[in-house]
């Protein structure tokens, strides 16, 4: 490279000033958009679905499960895959809460998405996710419009969707949603 190919210092400084103004202006505009969105979209819309969408899926243990079988008690449905890092992060929380609430009438169901049965089985065993896990053939993903892994759905005893949580769920949040499902169960 010769000296003539390299822009002069004053030219570069002019470009820098101009670029700095553009970046600052764009950044400020985006910040304003985010703040406005924060005020304008303060209230989450209630879940659109009134009831559980029907599904009939094979379980990892060879049995199968249908959506009708879940009616009668609050249900936590967690969609996961063994290769998904945030799913691995939240697994101990699900394991702990499921073990604790298993006797209180709250059911847990795992939906294994985009994974092999053998990998899923190995992971569920290792992570002590001691509740039923169904292998999704794509129908659950399609019906529930699963956007990301993990996703957690909480349903009340009537099968109505109480909440959808995208990404790894915290223990506190999971417990709050389960309580909401239990209250919803005893509501009108």
């Amino acid at each position: 490279m010769t000296n003539s190919d390299i822009p002069s210092l004053p030219t570069v400084e002019a470009i820098r000033r101009s670029l700095a103004r553009v970046l600052l202006g764009t950044g400020t505009a985006l910040a304003l958009v985010l703040i406005v969105a924060g005020f304008a979209l303060a209230n989450p819309r209630p879940p659109a679905r009134a009831g559980t969408l029907p599904f009939d899926l094979p379980l990892l243990d060879g049995d199968s499960i249908t959506s009708e079988e879940l009616l009668g008690q609050p249900v936590v449905i967690n969609v996961w895959a063994s290769w998904c890092p945030p799913c691995r992060d939240e697994a101990p929380i699900l394991s702990r809460v499921a073990a604790e609430l298993g006797d209180t009438g709250v059911r847990f169901l795992g939906i294994v998405s985009d994974d092999t049965a053998s990998n899923a089985r190995e992971f569920a065993e290792k992570a002590q996710l001691d509740f039923p896990h169904a292998i999704d053939d794509g129908s659950f993903d399609h019906a529930y419009e699963v956007q990301v892994l993990p996703t957690t759905y909480v349903l009340d005893a009537m099968g109505a969707l109480v909440a959808t949580h995208l990404g790894p769920i915290s223990e506190a949040r999971l417990r709050v949603l389960i309580e909401e499902a239990q209250i919803s169960e005893s509501g009108p």
Partner: protein, 248 residues
């Protein structure tokens, strides 16, 4: 072929990768102009560093988490399965060390190329953040309004963490590009701030999940070291201007 496409699950991560590649190709020439370094060398560094980042980050992740899967090429290319970005960043630094192997210590030239690498990493972070719109994954930690807001399909309000990071990076870049600093200083400082920002926002996004640990600490150290380099670059430039010899 369709089985392969099903397996790699052609969604967000690959769209993001394409956008990042496009951004690096687009920005390479402009970074060369701003740093007054040879355009072809900047392009080569971006290309080599980009490939090295992805391979190192993915292989290291599999080696730690799923060592048995290292022999399966299909698992290797399934990027949404996880990456160790810190290892990717360290691999990029080693590429710069190789590129400037004739230099001793933190010479002016080596710092200038580290600054170019920092620019590439910041551009990658920014583009990946904005590509959250393609991945439908702009949500972060639960946060009250107006910090968080309602997003489609969610029953709580969330901070749009990737978009917040992208916005703050734009503002930081705008502030640091003022000609009071040398270009090497500006880009290194931006790289350091990006590393610290990542830690701050990631920590806020995984509340309740025990996912903050060694990598977080390493990013904090990395951010501080790079900021230290930016200060060091300032001293060198004061003593031996211009930043990079014109006869490279």
């Amino acid at each position: 072929m369709s089985e392969l496409l099903d397996f790699i699950y052609l969604r967000g991560e690959y769209v993001s990768l394409l956008l990042v590649t496009g951004m690096l190709v687009f920005a390479g020439g402009r970074v060369a102009v701003l740093t007054r370094l040879p355009r072809s060398e900047v392009g080569d560094l971006f290309w080599n560093a980009g490939i090295t980042f992805v391979v190192a980050a993915r292989v290291s992740y599999l080696a730690v988490e799923f060592p048995a899967s290292l022999l399966d090429p299909l698992v290797l290319i399934r990027l949404q399965g996880g990456l160790h970005p810190l290892v990717g960043v360290l691999a990029v630094i080693s590429i710069v060390a190789w590129h400037t192997r004739g230099e001793h210590g933190l010479s002016e030239t080596r710092l200038a190329w580290l600054a170019v690498a920092a620019a590439g990493l910041v551009l990658t972070t920014w583009t990946y953040d904005v590509a959250c719109l393609a991945r439908e994954a702009c949500y972060g930690a639960e946060a009250p309004s107006p910090l968080g807001f309602a997003m489609s399909g969610l029953s709580d309000t969330r901070m749009a963490t990737p978009l917040v990071e992208a916005t703050l990076l734009l503002i930081a870049a705008g502030g640091l590009l003022s000609p009071q600093l040398s270009m090497t200083q500006s880009l290194l400082a931006l790289g350091g701030i990006a590393a610290l920002l990542r830690v701050a926002l990631t920590s806020a996004s995984v509340q309740g999940v025990d996912a903050v640990g060694l990598e977080t600490a390493a990013f904090v150290v990395l951010g501080l070291v790079v900021l230290g380099m930016a200060l060091s670059a300032g001293r060198i430039v004061t003593a031996t201007s211009p930043v990079v010899p014109h006869d490279r």
